[in-house]
């Protein structure tokens, strides 16, 4: 399986480290414990389209948000997790 890294191009998943579902957002510092519990522990774990975090550890060392189908493993797209600072081409 290969991930279309926005900077490095198509690369084998052996170069990446998978973290998990990219949709949970870390609650604000003063948020309730229940919100942090859900962020840390609960997952939709869908069969089908899934936005997930991968880290290009043996490549450009960026965190990516990869859109992948968890049933067919097809990967239509991937983008840098960090919104790019102005002026960078990728």
């Amino acid at each position: 399986m290969r991930i279309p890294c926005p900077y490095c191009g198509s690369r084998d998943i052996g170069e990446f480290v998978y973290r998990g579902d990219a949709s949970p957002v870390r609650p604000a510092a003063d948020g309730a414990e229940a919100a942090m519990f859900a962020y840390v522990y609960l997952r939709d774990n869908p069969m089908g389209r899934h936005e997930e975090h991968w880290y290009h550890t043996q490549g450009c060392r960026n965190w990516l948000v990869v859109t992948r189908d968890t049933l067919t493993h097809e990967i239509p797209s991937a983008r840098l997790a960090a919104p790019l600072n102005a002026g960078d081409a990728v």
Partner: protein, 170 residues
């Protein structure tokens, strides 16, 4: 060893890891470091420049500045020159750099790297940060038949063992 292959090592390099700060573009970095006028630091996995100063693209907004004959203060001056534009740190001793040249150089590297190294996908000026035999590498194509392959210093022996083993069966 295939007849079309020589393996040597490039030593004494000056290397500085350069990471653009928020909102700073590749042109600014290139110009501040004194690349030829109008020449920007590469925003894609490529390298530009020459022996005195080259900028190797290793990621969005990050490069390796390289000098073949650095003075003792070269790294400090690069870091200071970039003040305000980019964070930079001396990594001159972090890598061992193997020079592969000859007709079989690309074929040998292709045995290890799962990245298309054939022209036009990869050509002089191209860079690939990838992995060979579980060892992280930075591959830089210099000309039609020669490449620099940089690996972390601590992994130099293991990488050299792979190089010689793979080359023996070309």
């Amino acid at each position: 060893m295939g007849d079309g292959l020589e393996i040597s090592e490039v030593t004494g390099l000056g290397l500085v890891a350069v990471m653009a700060r928020k909102g700073v573009g590749a042109e600014a970095i290139g110009q501040r470091l004194g690349l030829a006028p109008g020449l920007a630091a590469p925003a894609t996995p490529h390298w530009v420049g020459d022996g005195a100063l080259a900028l190797i693209g290793t990621g969005p907004g990050s490069w390796l500045a390289r000098s073949e004959a650095p003075t003792a203060e070269w790294a400090e001056t690069v870091i200071e020159r970039l003040a305000g534009l980019a964070s930079a740190t001396d990594v001159s001793a972090s890598y061992r750099v193997f020079r592969l040249s000859g007709g079989d150089a690309a074929r040998l590297l292709q045995r290890g790297a799962f990245v298309d190294l054939a022209t036009p996908a990869f050509a002089p000026g191209s860079v690939a940060v990838t992995v060979i035999a579980h060892i992280g590498v930075i591959i830089r194509q210099i000309d039609e038949t020669s490449f620099d392959v940089s690996v972390f210093r601590s992994l130099g022996e293991s990488f050299h063992h792979w190089l010689t083993t793979a080359a023996a069966t070309l």
